[in-house]
Subunit: 289 residues, 2 copies
């Protein structure tokens, strides 16, 4: 078993247990707790919390409940973004991870509020786990108007807009903001929290940028390579809906080539770090290559 697989098998259940327990025990109203848990416990890969924890691991930091709490805070924020992205006014998706989306299951107001509750709760967990205003600054910048939400805004504003279909710079920027920023923040929060040296911080940040960029291309490729049963959501949907992304810009073969290059660069960035687990993350992308 690779070091990554071992790490993933060890920590994924810990993350899932923490999420399930605290989304029930720490929320007063059992109905809104249930609505929030429904989406959080829908079987995500826990990519961002694992990335946070494995970056700590690469810095030799011992993982205790506090670190798991921070990691889970990131997952709450990721889940909020999925719930709002699926809303009728946004991507209008009925299924996610093989289950009805939040608004289809509970109603639109409920889905908006579940997202609105997960976002501050995620930041609360990060603040409580870390006792660090610096980590709060990293995460809030990553998901605000100059980060994730800014990317989502560019996305809704450019769908079916042919003038950006050939604009590689615009598409790169939109995709980076939408998904890259939160991935980068997961690594950078761990670098600050784990007291990385300046050199380590730079290497990890470079790795996070390559990893985040690769993730976008991977995610676009999943949309065409997998059947919807495998992906647990409607696939082949981006092109039908006039979405502009790297895949629609480059086509499948060139996207795969770029993904391969990014994986190589990301591995190079990890040179000199104790990074066996982190490097193993890049194997996730193999299934679309």
């Amino acid at each position: 078993m690779t070091a990554f697989k071992y790490f993933q098998n060890e920590w994924t259940p810990v993350i899932n247990e923490y999420l399930e327990k605290h989304l029930t025990a720490d929320i007063d109203d059992q109905k809104i707790s249930q609505i929030m848990s429904y989406s959080v416990m829908a079987g995500g890969k826990r990519l961002r919390p694992l990335l946070f924890l494995s970056t700590l691991n690469s810095l030799g930091k011992v993982i205790t409940e506090k670190e798991v709490k921070i990691a889970c805070g990131i997952e709450l924020i990721h889940t909020y973004s999925l719930i709002h992205d699926d809303l009728p006014a946004m991507d209008n998706d009925d299924y996610r991870r093989g289950k009805l989306t939040s608004h289809k299951k509970w109603g639109e107001a409920e889905a908006i509020l579940a997202g609105d509750a997960l976002l501050p709760l995620g930041i609360q967990w990060i603040a409580e786990g870390s006792q660090s205003a610096a980590l709060v600054e990293i995460i809030t910048k990553a998901i605000g108007p100059n980060g994730m939400v800014g990317g989502q805004y560019l996305d809704i504003n450019s769908t079916n807009n042919d003038s950006v279909a050939e604009d590689a710079e615009f598409i790169n920027r939109m995709e980076w903001l939408k998904t890259g920023c939160l991935i980068q923040a997961s690594v950078n929060m761990a670098a600050i929290y784990g007291e990385a040296s300046q050199v380590e911080q730079v290497k990890l940040d470079d790795f996070a940028k390559m990893f985040g960029r690769a993730y976008q291309i991977y995610d676009d490729l999943v949309d065409v390579v997998e059947t919807s049963e495998e992906a647990g959501k409607a696939t082949h949907k981006d092109q039908e809906e006039g979405k502009n992304n790297t895949l629609t810009l480059l086509g499948i073969d060139k996207s795969r080539k770029e993904l391969t290059d990014l994986i190589k660069q990301a591995k190079d960035d990890l040179n000199g770090l104790n990074s066996e687990v982190l490097a193993g993350f890049l194997d996730l992308y193999k299934k679309v290559l």
Copy 2:
């Protein structure tokens, strides 16, 4: 001129200038900046930021740009809550403060995203201004599932539900969560940031609870006492829409009596503090008495 009026006249323009400047300069995408500014600069009274600053004032803390930044962060969060409350799936309001609501002006996806951008940006400003994870914990708890969003959930879930119309405890709890929590957090953040003594913290917290409770009753009374032109939004709307609140429970006369009692208790809580400015806040409520 009262001490409160003087304070209000001094700091309201400073708050407005900070908001206007930084919502333009600090946001990369000018269109989403414009959508966010539209709602933030729609002429709010800046009650929560003024409450934060005047609590600092009562503790002898000098107000500089850092403190204004924290105060303005609270206002961004308040504005996000108004934008989402107005959405078609929620209260479905067309006007707010005499202007079209965000979704009526810009579209529903845009309004959801403007709220989603204001929330983390507000927390970012609080973290950057205070460098305090403790303040982030206070604000995130106040607006999460056990705070503001929890109250909004109880509200949408109880509208047109006759079984709660006579349930004073439920209504108190819902109203407290919806508006009281954020008001209390504005005072408590200042108490921690301004290094209040234990005794001062307790007095300020008691004041904040009375003030917050009074504000809800005030806000309900505005709905029936003012014409819609004065209030800048649709009034007389709560009763028509089957909303349950203290006013529908107690009627106008008893609500006024309770408001009068709360003002007296809030003033008593301030005994022994240097609180001339804070006490003056309570005069706001006179216009519905």
